[in-house]
């Protein structure tokens, strides 16, 4: 035990050094101009800083007008999805030790930009609401205590319960970029979460909704969504399972 403690001591012994980093941000404020502009900021970054820390430093010390959403700052609330060096990430889950000296930050793509990194989330939540994201138990009498469910049945949909609705997946999808009426990966993930829940009786209705021309068949299996998911959900696999369920009408 002591040996382990000492090892961890050495690992953190060297005081971390800050470096100068250039952060180029796509700014947009229709109150000021109809055109977006790129603005670069130079800021000090420690290896342990998250990209969110840098944005807060810029806002606090250099330019209070810089606007972005954030809340929990450790990857569970889903507020701060943005495009960082071309990839959708949560700003609070990217550590500067893993990043180069130049950052390029833009809003997530495919949703209307309202100001700087703030996008209109309403179309995203509209697609979510459309797939009936709630337990349906119609036609079954409520149990006196809980519904029984084996751990194996619980495990079937475990992965898709992790979704935090950050939109990183949907806004990384090339199909969604070209056709905003496509339901998008996040909505399908949340449909999957209920379709494969043994307590639920609404699979048919949801599959019918996803059988739509804007539904699950638009997916081109590019895996962008899976790579973008900050929760590590195997989204493409979930979409495949929904497709299978539609083909064979069996969950």
């Amino acid at each position: 035990m002591t040996a382990v403690a000492e090892r961890s001591t050495t690992a953190t012994a060297a005081p971390p050094k800050p470096r100068q980093v250039t952060v180029k941000i796509r700014r947009y404020n229709p109150e000021v101009s109809d055109e977006p502009t790129w603005v670069s900021y130079t800021v000090e970054a420690y290896p342990t800083d998250r990209v969110l820390n840098l944005l807060m430093k810029i806002k606090g010390e250099q330019d209070g007008t810089l606007t972005f959403r954030r809340s929990c700052a450790h990857g569970v609330c889903g507020s701060d999805a943005m495009r960082i060096n071309g990839v959708n990430r949560l700003a609070c889950k990217v550590l500067m030790k893993d990043m180069p000296d130049k950052l390029t930050i833009e809003p997530i793509k495919g949703l209307p930009v309202l100001k700087d990194l703030v996008v209109d989330m309403e179309p995203f939540f509209e697609a979510y609401r459309a797939i009936k994201p709630f337990l349906i138990t119609a036609g079954r009498p409520d149990p006196t205590k809980e519904w029984l469910q084996s751990q194996a049945d619980r495990d079937r949909y475990d992965d898709t319960t992790k979704c935090i609705l950050c939109a990183a997946c949907t806004t990384s999808c090339p199909v969604f970029w070209t056709d905003g009426s496509y339901f998008g990966p996040a909505a399908i993930v949340n449909a999957h979460r209920f379709i494969f829940d043994s307590r639920d009786t609404g699979a048919e209705e949801r599959l019918e909704i996803l059988n739509d021309r804007e539904g699950v068949w638009r997916c081109r299996t590019t895996f962008n969504c899976t790579e973008a998911c900050p929760r590590g959900i195997e989204i493409t696999k979930a979409i495949q399972e929904v497709k299978q369920a539609l083909l064979f009408r069996r969950v």
Partner: protein, 581 residues
């Protein structure tokens, strides 16, 4: 300016707000206002579970749970409220399951349960499996499940509407009643007046008064602050919980569930030091005791790391399958943010400001009190913003997820039932005036002070002077620092003068609430010359039931100063005794 009319307006869309909305929206015309999106609320960050004496895996009953809650709260708990919470816990968990919450399961397919700090069998004999959980993301599942059911019921949300003022109207009989709220719409900068028969406050806590905290950036005590500025009291604000296991230096929460699953706290020598402080339940002692023990190890030179300023949470003896199945998120936090692999290395941890036991005083119907006995008709509060008081001076782990479900539900029902029996109250004259002035002053200010600087200084003095250990001297220092910061706050100016998503303005308003609440916390703490639960005074190390077994009630005077009073504790079945574990 727009005016809206509703039967019930709920402020906040975390667990308490949405649980209230599920009850209220079916009974009365209801709107839910949140400064975020509902799924961003900090309920989602809760990890370990929600206790209820289901007795699914071993013998248990709600009376044991009540006892643990009262003892855990160091006898400052109102015992009638604790009885309600622990009795209704069972239905609250079953309700969530029926709403779809994916709990972990026993081999028989029932809701699985695990151990948690301070929860014991038969009045302290040994730890009991009482926490119902979904891996280490129970709060996430509760938040999602409640939101899903709000979607199902078509609950009307006003997202990114920041409530800045509470409206009270004096009735013909002289009684002041709730008549609505005033909100600032972040997308447009427009001010909205919501005229309502009943208002439910569910705005959460104010952990951002501290630097090291598990709380979200948005937890700035807005609901408590609005109530305070109306001259209504705040209760037990000196009691703030420091969760033992925050990631060292960062404050990000690592659930007590880790210790519930068998993880062990060790000092630099590898010693399991909790054996010395709580010989019976060791690492599963309540949070205040564990946090103090950790701070003491560091203070006495047994801390780990290059600066000897943290202790170690050791999971290395746990099977990897168990870690992956039961603690996937927190182990990922350790990997992501500290670069530590919990399979093979102990995780550096230190106490982090976590939860406000105090808040807006309510009775067990979630009605807000204007003094020790009278309620404000039409005004309700539930969750962390409220002080019922089920947590007393120290909340047990999992009891907050329970609190939001039990009292959120109660608040929703009570508000809707009250609203169906009264007329819409008249608004006070110029209801938007205070908010127009507040916003206008900040937008037009040309002062030289910056929000960022003042907030950092506030958080630094709070961490230094009002954290796990406190003294008259440290608290006096904090009070003086806060007074100076409040003066400087009058000179604060912001760069963004626009109407659209002005988060610069938002942060300035939030800082104002934080300063007010920090002052109430510190003044209340100076006045409590004893150590009890989360409030540890080095100059008064013993609990003093004779003089201090009573709730603090803080009132804002006309000149802005804090006046303190007391409220008796409700004792039903448990007389105070020495708190040993």
């Amino acid at each position: 300016m727009q005016t809206h009319k509703y039967d019930v307006v709920i402020v906040g869309a975390g667990g308490a707000g949405m649980r209230a909305a599920i009850e209220s929206s079916g009974r009365a015309r209801t709107a839910v206002l949140t400064k975020l999106y509902p799924t961003r609320s900090h309920t989602g960050a809760a990890q370990g579970g929600m206790c209820a004496a289901l007795a699914n895996v071993e013998d248990d009953n709600w009376e044991w749970h009540t006892f643990d809650t009262v003892k855990g709260g160091d006898y400052l708990v109102d015992q009638d409220a604790a009885e309600v919470m622990c009795r209704e816990a069972i239905v609250a968990v079953l309700d969530l399951e029926k709403m779809g919450l994916p709990f972990n399961r026993t081999p028989q397919g029932r809701i699985d349960q695990r151990r948690f700090g301070g929860h014991t069998r038969n009045h302290g004999e040994a730890p009991v499996r009482r926490s119902c959980y979904a891996a280490d993301r129970t709060g996430h599942m509760i938040l999602q499940t409640l939101y899903q059911n709000c979607v199902k019921q078509g609950v009307e949300f006003y997202n990114e509407f920041y409530v800045l003022d509470l409206l009270l109207t004096r009735r013909a009989d002289g009684v002041e009643v709730a008549s609505g709220v005033v909100a600032y719409e972040l997308a447009t900068g427009e001010i909205h007046v919501f005229n309502a028969k009943a208002v439910v406050l569910a705005t959460g806590g104010f952990g951002k008064v501290f630097k090291t905290t598990s709380n979200a950036h948005t937890l700035t005590g807005d609901g408590m602050g609005a109530v305070w500025r109306k001259g209504l009291p705040l209760e037990d604000m000196e009691f703030f919980q420091f969760h033992p296991t925050g990631l060292a230096g960062l404050g990000i929460l690592l659930s007590e569930a880790a210790r519930g699953e068998g993880a062990i706290l060790r000092n630099a020598d590898g010693e399991r030091f909790m054996e010395r402080y709580a010989p019976t339940i060791k690492d599963l002692a309540p949070r205040d005791i564990v946090a103090r023990s950790m701070a003491n190890e560091v203070r006495e030179g047994r801390g780990a790391g290059p600066n000897k300023d943290y202790v170690l949470l050791d999971l290395t003896h746990l099977p990897r399958e168990q870690i992956d199945a039961k603690l996937p998120d927190i182990t990922e936090f350790a990997r992501t943010y500290l670069g530590v692999e919990p399979y093979t290395e102990p995780v550096p941890v230190y106490p982090t400001a976590h939860y406000a036991m105090g808040g807006v005083p309510t009775n067990i119907e979630a009605e807000v009190l204007r003094n020790n006995t009278d309620v404000v008709p039409g005004l309700y509060a539930a969750g962390e913003v409220a002080c019922v008081s089920v947590h007393g001076s120290n909340r047990l782990g999992t009891n907050s997820l329970l609190d939001i479900n039990v009292f959120g539900r109660r608040a929703g029902i009570a508000a809707a039932e009250y609203a169906t029996g009264v007329e819409l109250p008249e608004l006070p004259s110029a209801p938007e005036q205070a908010v127009v002035e507040l916003v206008g002053t900040l937008l037009n200010s040309t002062g030289s002070e910056r929000v960022n600087v003042l907030r950092t200084e506030l958080q630094n003095t709070m961490d230094r002077n009002a954290q796990v250990f406190r003294t008259e001297e440290s608290l006096a220092q904090a009070e003086a620092d806060i007074a100076a910061l409040k003066k400087r706050y009058a000179q604060v100016s912001i760069a963004d003068k626009g109407k659209r998503y002005n988060s610069d303005l938002l942060e300035a308003v939030e800082l104002g609430f934080l300063l007010d609440l920090a002052e109430v916390l510190v003044v209340s703490a100076r006045n409590r010359k004893e150590s009890r639960g989360g409030h540890a005074r080095e100059d008064f190390q013993e609990r003093d039931d004779e003089n201090f077994m009573k709730h603090t009630m803080a009132y804002r005077e006309a000149d802005g100063s804090v006046r303190l009073d007391w409220k008796p504790v409700v004792v039903t079945r448990y007389q105070p005794m020495a708190r040993k574990y």
